[in-house]
């Protein structure tokens, strides 16, 4: 059974978001990393890049397949997790911690309303299984 912490918001496409003072930290869910299998390569965006909600912003590649990571919110990338270049497995080991992918300064706080809370996401993932 995969985990989905209560303090995060979740996208249909399996990203999580934690918002702190207008900055969204984004990663992929425990369910997503488990489905992908061992990650071997992560392509993070450049700092300064801007995305609309729903844009492909990063790529995670596992032993099995490549998968886009969509930004759940609009805004500018202000930080990326450089550690993933050498240790993509951080996403497998700690999807909600050291395995974060990018931080985006949000331009529209209302977009958070389009995301699921942990309970809704857990239900969505159970439907998947």
């Amino acid at each position: 059974m995969s985990e989905a912490p209560d303090n995060l918001k979740y996208a249909e496409s399996h990203e999580w978001v934690q918002v702190d003072d207008g900055v969204a930290t984004i990663g992929i869910s425990d369910h997503a990393q488990d489905a992908l299998g061992d990650l071997v390569f992560v392509e993070v965006p450049e700092v300064g890049a801007t995305f609309d909600a729903g844009d492909a912003a990063a790529v995670v590649e596992s032993v099995k397949a490549a998968s886009d990571v969509y930004s759940p919110v609009s805004g500018e990338v202000i930080a990326v997790n450089e550690a993933l270049a050498d240790a993509p497995e951080l996403i497998n080991d700690e999807p909600y911690g050291e395995g974060w992918i990018m931080r985006i300064r949000m331009t529209d706080d209302d977009e958070l309303d389009n995301l699921m809370d942990a309970e809704a996401y857990a239900a969505r993932v159970t439907d998947d299984d």
Partner: protein, 359 residues
């Protein structure tokens, strides 16, 4: 409803994730696919490949039939139990399947065919055997366990009952049949080990013994990365009925030596060789970042080609692949990965053998 091997419950008990493979519910991985890969390179792992099928060819004219059916020549197999790797070809040289062929006696051969091609293979063999004093019998009731890795043989030894002594003596690419056990020193990983064919009852016992000996169960995911590192082709991916052995790096498995041997596909292959325009089949190691995948475009001086296999090599910690390209000088080679052109180094497979990186 997908088929299940007799070991299905054992896989489930080990936490396997299952995937539909050629109509079979097979374990893709039990936990980390990378850990499974390393276990085979460093210690030992066991694969349930009972979805593949053993087929027996028996009869007074078995030798003559196999020399007609297969592109490699079973006349090379001088001692009982010797095996070879070969393609089974259509008349136009296209590959029906690739298989291991064991010559157990002059009147008994055993081949192991791929799961996805079993039905058409057996139908083809039944049709081709007409006129020979020989019979083709599929043995779907038999299980196949591959135990692979540097410690695989010594771990298996006490678990093989009456076959143990003979198994311990086996040279590479040789098999022995003893009671319920058929043990071949063959595999699909580039490591030493056995492929063991037996009935469900003995397969379950062997599986239990291997688990007690802490042999790691390995899913189809790691099976693919292991075979790719070993530079071994995968049927349906690197080759199929539209591809000749000359176009997928398997010319070495085609035996033209005996000019009087008129095997299926011979005339077509001779014409292809005379034309000299067969594609080249190469190994590639990605030099930039990313992971190559099958069907991505490969760009070279001789023209555009395609990756037939691609993935991540856990042993090399780099992306590796097999590619088919137009003949000619290749020059600098790049691979188009998700819109980026990434440089790749051309190598001759295998990439890894017996735990060592060779490229």
């Amino acid at each position: 409803m997908p088929k299940q091997t007799p070991l299905y419950d054992r896989h489930a008990a080990k936490g396997a994730k299952f995937v539909d493979f050629a109509g079979w519910d097979m374990p893709i991985a039990y936990g980390s696919q990378l850990d499974e890969h390393h276990a085979v390179r460093e210690k030992a792992g066991v694969f349930d490949v009972s979805h593949m099928t053993a087929v027996d060819i028996e009869g007074a004219e078995a030798v003559a039939f196999m020399r007609k059916l297969l592109a490699n020549d079973v006349a090379k197999l001088k001692k009982p139990g010797k095996a070879l790797y070969t393609c089974m070809l259509q008349e136009d040289g296209g590959i029906i399947d690739d298989l291991i062929c064991y010559r157990m006696r002059d009147d008994w051969f055993r081949v192991v065919v791929n799961a996805g091609t079993t039905d058409k293979d057996v139908a083809w063999m039944q049709q081709q055997v007409e006129g020979f004093d020989a019979a083709v019998t599929a043995r779907p009731e038999l299980c196949i366990l591959a135990v692979q890795g540097p410690f695989a043989r010594e771990i298996c030894d006490p678990l093989l009952g009456k076959a143990a002594e003979a198994a311990a003596e086996l040279k590479p690419f040789t098999a022995v049949a003893e009671g319920p056990w058929f043990v071949g020193r063959t595999g699909y990983t580039g490591e030493d080990g056995f492929e063991i064919i037996t009935d469900a009852e003995h397969a379950l016992k062997l599986w239990g013994g291997l688990m007690d000996a802490h042999v790691v169960p390995i899913g189809l995911g790691a099976r693919d990365t292991l075979r790719l590192e070993a530079g071994m082709n995968l049927y349906g991916q690197d080759m199929d009925e539209s591809v000749s052995p000359l176009a997928c790096g398997l010319e070495w498995t085609v035996s033209m030596a005996d000019e009087t041997r008129d095997f299926n596909g011979r005339a077509a292959l001779e014409a292809q060789k005379a034309a000299g325009d067969a594609p080249v089949f190469i190994g590639v190691v990605l030099e930039g970042r990313g992971v190559m995948r099958a069907h991505q475009k490969v760009l070279a001086e001789s023209g555009d080609g395609e990756l037939t296999s691609g993935g991540f090599s856990p042993t090399m910690q780099a992306s590796i692949g097999l590619a088919r390209l137009p003949p000619g000088e290749l020059g600098k080679v790049t691979v188009e990965i998700r819109g980026r052109e990434v440089p790749a180094r051309v190598v001759t497979p295998p990439f890894v053998r017996n735990g060592d990186v060779l490229v």
